[in-house]
Symmetry: C2
Subunit: 521 residues, 2 copies
């Protein structure tokens, strides 16, 4: 046989489900502790997204039931809009299926992998299906499903399907059994829920841990966050292949109309300018644009000044709400929050928000705690690989009253929260642990940290440093009578007079110090 | 409308090609310099795999044609077996298509993503198709194709397809145009080809760089490497879901036969033992095994002593060949190589090979250069995240005559080469840059480094240290006449006699030193 024919016999298609089964570490299912967290996280992300999209104040119930040290049942239940019966199998039983991949809008989910990856991992480690119950309105029945994934086809396998009674008006409950391990600490389910509550102050969380202890995170505000709007792509973020593809499928009749309709931030004037620069008739039909002309258009886009993309696709927490949320979660002496104006990377708008919490009661020799968020989702892994971490290390914390040695995290009783909202957070892996190092993003984070840092520095000077000064003054005051007596002996001046003078000097110095602190504000 | 219905309208399937277009950084196409390298790498990996699988001594021609500073045409041509006409479109125009995903055998390729990702990136940045010409034997025609990927369907789009004359008897040539940037240095195409030649001494490489300079890497040996054999999975590496799936599709008639036929390293005795431990009739039909019984089987596997998997699925470079290869590539004073016995992680066999090259002529104050390989492919990125790096840092290099401060790379004129062969190298991402931190792998690398390090230490003591001693002796010798004269003045003994005595002492000390060095070996 010809050698090429031998080789050809083995060629075949690989299903995405097979691919991720074998490479499950790419999705975050590399260790049992992490697998447990991923299950909670993916289910909660979906619940919160669904509630936010349909204006429901989220109420999320999370329970971890311990089967053994190495096996758990994860339950996540929400009061969301529910899922249409016919959509349930695909959403849970098919990877790369979802509503958010093709839309430019701030969302927790992105790739349509999350919850089906949990199902994949559950069936790999326990052979059990996910159990889903969902109801979309009071006058419709609830549907119950048991679903697995046919990994060879990446298609849902329905093991059970029935109508059920369910107490809720609408919502979804998922229950999944998997090999996992429960741990407390920085990368735990407990921490994930706590941080999620901070970033989602409009949501309520009820959490039953494996020891059956109940923790409730009440909502801080009873309003919906601003609902983000979907936007069209910005010309600056477009790549050549995408431009060709868009030209091929647009319904616009002219290149000018194409730019106005299919992109954001382009008006008639800008569209004309792009065409002129590209030496192209702006009335030409998009489908008639050839390769060379498309290249000229792309070049022209880069040379044309186009206004920034609209930012109503973003829903920041806002400085005010974030401060409320931090005050509820941390008992501290000082809080400051910053929500920056929108900025842009690769044509995608984004907003950076920062919060600093200082608690003088806590040990001063520990490293600051960094909380990272993207689209209101806490990032608990790969801190070292994350742009947020780099921005914090790159910031000089000494002027803000913190200790810092070299390019390390500052030392002191400080919590640093950084939140990126974007229509497309640039994650470094499918597991969505860390943000890629885009210069524009790092720069914005640093500016936000500096803004908050200055507030912190002022407060520390006024309160901590001034208090330290006052302590020193008090100490000195004690010695004044003693000192005055000794001076009387040496100078033959009256001890009383000396004592009064010393007291005056001390008071004056302190006053200057305090005023100084004030005027600097 | 009910809210769930609104949401449902947006749900849809995401093609894997769309997914990786948007997430191309996951595949290594994040920067133009790297994109250029990835194109060369993926094409070469395929060429080498195809040659090795069909016993052809590889002859690979690589050319980078510069179109502009930011655009290149990459050409890779081989003398391999060629590709069947009907396979060409899928291999280049469909992600997750390949021959290596489902087989347990040492291969460069793995996931069926590589070359089609290059096509995806090329069409995204330039809109151009890949051009492929392939011929499978002297008496068959060559076929020429121009192929793109329909990203929405993840299917090949054939732009051109024709029979052509081609000088070669068999082989494949690909030509792809893409946005990229050419750079020299550690992470360059030049370095990739050089390192690939080191790890593939049976292959010849002809490389034309963008400045039209030609570099030829001649082959070091004219034999095929040992051809690896495909193996079945080892029971220790099996997960519950996989066991269920295998039970469902086996052609074996009994559980005992299932274990013997479908796994490696299981004989009749071991199969029986597993069944007994699981309290299961070994004659039971695999398809009748229920959930509980399967769980018992998995538990029994873990408790049963099963011999290690066969290792003929691996094709190490071997210590002898690796040394030849290093001698050809590096002009140095000392070479040592180690090829360990096979070891196992998660049921997958693997072999670690190590080479050390010491060149006393080079500056002594620079950090050692680390060359990492997996299945004969150089790993040029993400060194910090790689298990190989960790093993090198964890090794104490001081006993081997190197400087080392803390947990850093050793300092000195040293090249450290580490090669992992495995049927499934555990890469940390689709871009296959770094190996995950499995304890078994790190331990084996450290043992190999220690073995090679001891050889290095001996040589350094004998040659470098002894030479330093000799230099000191020579220096001292110069002063002996002077010293003898002074001593004559002080002691009134004859200068000649003193000089002789001093010389004797010096010689004796040196001899002892040299003998000491010898006996330590």
């Amino acid at each position: 046989m010809i050698k090429a024919e031998e080789l050809a016999k083995k060629q075949r298609e690989i299903s995405i489900a097979e691919f991720f089964t074998k490479n499950r570490h790419l999705l975050g299912f590399d260790k049992p502790t992490r697998a447990l967290l991923m299950a909670v996280k993916e289910a909660c992300d979906n619940s919160l997204d669904a509630c936010d999209e349909t204006n429901v104040l989220p109420e999320i119930y999370i329970e971890l039931k311990k089967i053994s040290e190495e096996r758990f049942v994860v339950v996540v239940e929400d009061n969301g809009p529910g899922i249409l019966k016919q959509q349930i199998p695909n959403i849970f039983g098919k990877l790369l299926y979802g509503s958010k991949f093709h839309t430019l809008i701030q969302n927790r989910g992105q790739q349509g992998i999350g919850i089906s990856a949990v199902v994949l991992y559950s069936q790999l480690t326990t052979g059990k299906p996910i159990k889903v119950i969902s109801k979309i309105s009071a006058n419709k029945p609830a549907y119950y499903y048991e679903i697995q994934i046919d990994t060879q086809k990446n298609e849902p396998k329905i093991l059970r399907e029935e109508q059920r009674e369910w107490k809720r008006e609408h919502g979804t409950r998922v229950e999944v059994e998997l090999d996992g391990k429960y741990q407390k600490g920085r990368q735990s389910v407990d921490e994930y829920i706590k941080e999620t509550a901070i970033a989602n102050p409009h949501a309520e969380f009820i959490y039953i841990d494996p020891n059956k202890e109940k923790v409730v995170y009440k909502r801080v505000l009873n309003e919906f966050p601003k609902k983000p709007k979907e936007i069209r792509p910005h010309p600056y973020g477009i790549e050549f292949g995408t431009l060709l593809w868009m030209l091929g499928k647009t319904s616009a009749r002219s290149v000018q109309a194409f730019f106005i309709n299919d992109f954001s931030s382009v008006g008639a004037g800008t569209a004309k300018e792009i065409c002129e620069r590209a030496k192209l008739n702006s009335g030409k039909k998009p489908r008639q644009i050839n390769h060379q002309e498309a290249e000229a258009l792309l070049k022209a886009i880069k040379e044309t000044k186009i206004r920034a993309p609209p930012t109503d696709c973003l829903s920041p927490i806002t400085a005010e709400v974030l401060e409320k949320s931090l005050k509820k979660e941390f008992n501290a002496d000082f809080y400051t929050t910053v929500s920056r104006s929108p900025s842009v990377y690769r044509g995608f708008p984004f907003i950076i928000e920062v919060g600093l919490v200082y608690n003088g009661e806590l040990p001063k020799e520990e490293t600051a705690k960094l909380l990272r968020f993207a689209n209101r989702v806490p990032l608990l892994f790969q801190q070292g690989a994350c742009a947020i971490n780099e921005a914090v290390l790159d910031t000089n914390w000494k002027p803000y009253g913190m200790q810092q040695s070299g390019q390390n995290l500052p030392v002191g009783p400080l919590v640093i929260l950084v939140h990126l909202c974007s229509v497309w957070p640039p994650f470094t892996s499918e597991a969505k642990d860390a943000l890629a190092h885009y210069d524009e993003i790092i720069k914005e984070i640093k500016l936000a940290l500096q803004e908050a840092g200055r507030e912190l520095g002022l407060w520390i000077r006024k309160n901590i440093k001034a208090k330290e000064q006052q302590d020193r003054v008090n100490l000195f005051e004690k010695y004044i009578p003693e000192l005055a007596n000794s001076l009387e002996n040496l100078t033959n001046k009256k001890s009383n007079k000396i004592q009064d003078d010393l007291n005056k000097i001390l008071k004056k110095g302190l006053k200057d110090l305090m005023e100084n602190g004030e005027t600097k504000k």
